[in-house]
Symmetry: C2
Subunit: 343 residues, 2 copies
């Protein structure tokens, strides 16, 4: 396996080191190349993602990213210049985000409900296209537009991906989340596409929820969701709600997939670079390790993926049961690696 | 007070009747005119909001709306044709939504945190403008766009309104919620406007949160918010999260304001027409009554507004303490009216 590694900033390199530890514990043919990208590089060179680096990344089987950013980089620079550029250039149209409350993990929701869904967020169009413009900037007559671009091609491929995932899950339910009563043009395209593809999947129960109502149900009735398919911006928001109700962004894993395999997919914890705790060895690498499980699964190493996934569940349950000191980043990584091998 | 009343569909007329009962209990000069708008009218006549009706509405001091819609109206018809048309035609640029956990009300959040904020949602532009288009509809080459339109004029007036509200609250804190790392053009306009207006309000603590992070903090740390100002679509979503964590959409009040007074403002519970329980006399009118308190406040009847607001808090606490049968719609209305008069 040829793996590109972008440790990034803050706690990124620390959690990625543990992700690699666990990966190597279950798979002995990992060849890594480190890429220095993120806030530090930008401060030093002004570069976010040079074309040459992008070309090299293309030659890998997958990418593992820690986290990028620090408070001194203006908002948008690394997002547009690095993170979103990777998603767009590498056609990561399926942004996959499991939302799962692991046994032992405390939810902010009373009564610890059962939560086990997966969100298929579109990753390469919608309001993230970067289209729009500004006129008369800085004057009282300024106007700024943002354009959400949605194509049948782009919508259909993620909808198909989501149906295929729903087919492989016991509950076989798919919920489209949009706002088709207000965003009538894009909403109609999404709704029609889901209805048409649904005809090929008669076993699957299909539901529609407006984004505002879905955001509410993620809190009041998360058990009603199994596979959720949604646009780029709604997906950004509802997956953070999902992370919040399942124990926090510190545990949330994600994959930016090109399911066709034409480009390497990228896996990353949802959390940021957390500069306040960087270098202290206290960051929790669990979300990175859960992302490694997704990476293994994506590359067809399903037995190894299952081992890592089981290690994550086991470690979280064990940590919940123990009243001891919180473990260090490395201790959690070593525990996860041991569990993964033993599974 | 010349009040236009749109009972609407389902439970709408039932909850509005109780809202009016409480209004009349604290203010004896209410002259109402009923307007028949909503799903029933649309089914019968195909009309959503005839121009003549709109013109008549303009002649009132305020509008009280129950809820409109039924499952047989296609998505978007009443939203675009009636609800949003009212907001746009009557320049309801401040969509005001208190998010408050009343004593005694059970939150789905563990530990019943303190939640007391107010969301100032922009109501007349952004992604709700209705701009955008569709090409090659129904073909594999379909493309659908939605355009978010943001003007300095439109943003500045709601930002100023939000700062003025923050100034009147003890904590004096304002949080801008946007997604300026991705929606860089509109986000920059919003951020710059907040920074500039903030200079005139040195007492106010100003914070910025991305919409995804804010959605998370509404759940994990809602106490950090006091006044939130945000765009139309983010406001739609986060106020439903706010409703969810404060006991459900059934208790959430809202006002669609033109603070200039040039057009009548409109007040409505956030919940829908709930056709499943319509006509049974079991709908909870509390959100409508809380909206009536906002109406009174908006019209400068602050003492009366405070009485109704206090009645709402008292009734919710009393209901939480009693283990009896749930009260009927009318019983809740009568209780609220009595309490309001006694306050
Ligand atoms: C950092 C940002 C560009 C990104 C997004 O908005 O997609 C993040 O919030 C995420 O969800 O991965
Ligand atoms: C019904 C719909 C048009 C409306 C909106 O999206 O604004 C509703 O969700 C609300 O929040 O008042």
């Amino acid at each position: 396996m040829k793996l590109a590694v972008i440790g990034g900033d803050g706690i990124g390199p620390e959690v990625v080191a543990e992700g690699l530890r666990v990966l190597r514990a279950v798979h002995d043919k990992v060849e890594t190349t480190d890429y220095d990208l993120g806030a530090r590089r930008w401060h030093e060179t002004g570069e976010t993602l040079p074309d040459t680096v992008l070309d090299e990344l293309r030659g890998h089987d997958a990418i593992l990213l820690g986290a990028v950013g620090d408070p001194n980089v203006p908002s948008g620079v690394l997002e547009r210049g690095l993170l979103l550029r990777l998603r767009f250039e590498l056609d990561h149209h399926v942004n996959l985000r499991p939302v799962k409350l692991y046994p032992g993990v405390t939810s902010p929701l009373a009564g610890d409900p059962t939560i086990d869904m997966i969100v298929v967020r579109e990753g390469t169009e919608g309001p993230y296209a970067g289209a729009g413009g500004v006129l008369r900037k800085g004057t009282p007559h300024e106007i700024a537009t943002e354009e959400s671009i949605n194509t049948r091609f782009g919508v259909e491929r993620v909808v198909r991906d989501a149906f295929a995932r729903a087919q492989r899950r016991p509950r076989r339910k798919l919920t489209l989340v949009h706002k088709n009563n207000v965003l009538t043009k894009a909403g109609d395209l999404w709704s029609r596409t889901v209805t048409e593809v649904a005809a090929e999947f008669p076993e699957i129960t299909v539901e529609y929820q407006h984004a505002d109502a879905a955001s509410m149900f993620f809190i009041t009735d998360p058990g009603r969701f199994d596979v959720v398919v949604t646009d780029n911006l709604f997906g950004d928001i509802i997956t953070d709600i999902g992370a919040a109700v399942t124990g926090g962004i510190g545990l949330a894993a994600s994959g930016n997939l090109d399911p066709s395999g034409a480009h390497p997919s990228m896996f990353e914890p949802v959390h940021g670079s957390a500069p306040d705790i960087a270098g202290k060895g206290v960051a929790d690498p669990t979300a990175t390790v859960a992302s490694v499980a997704m990476l293994l699964d994506h590359l067809g190493l399903t037995a190894e993926a299952a081992k890592v996934e089981k290690a994550v569940a086991g470690s979280l349950a064990a940590r919940a049961a123990s009243a001891g000191q919180p473990l260090s980043t490395r201790e959690v990584g070593e525990d996860l690696a041991q569990r993964a091998v033993a599974n």
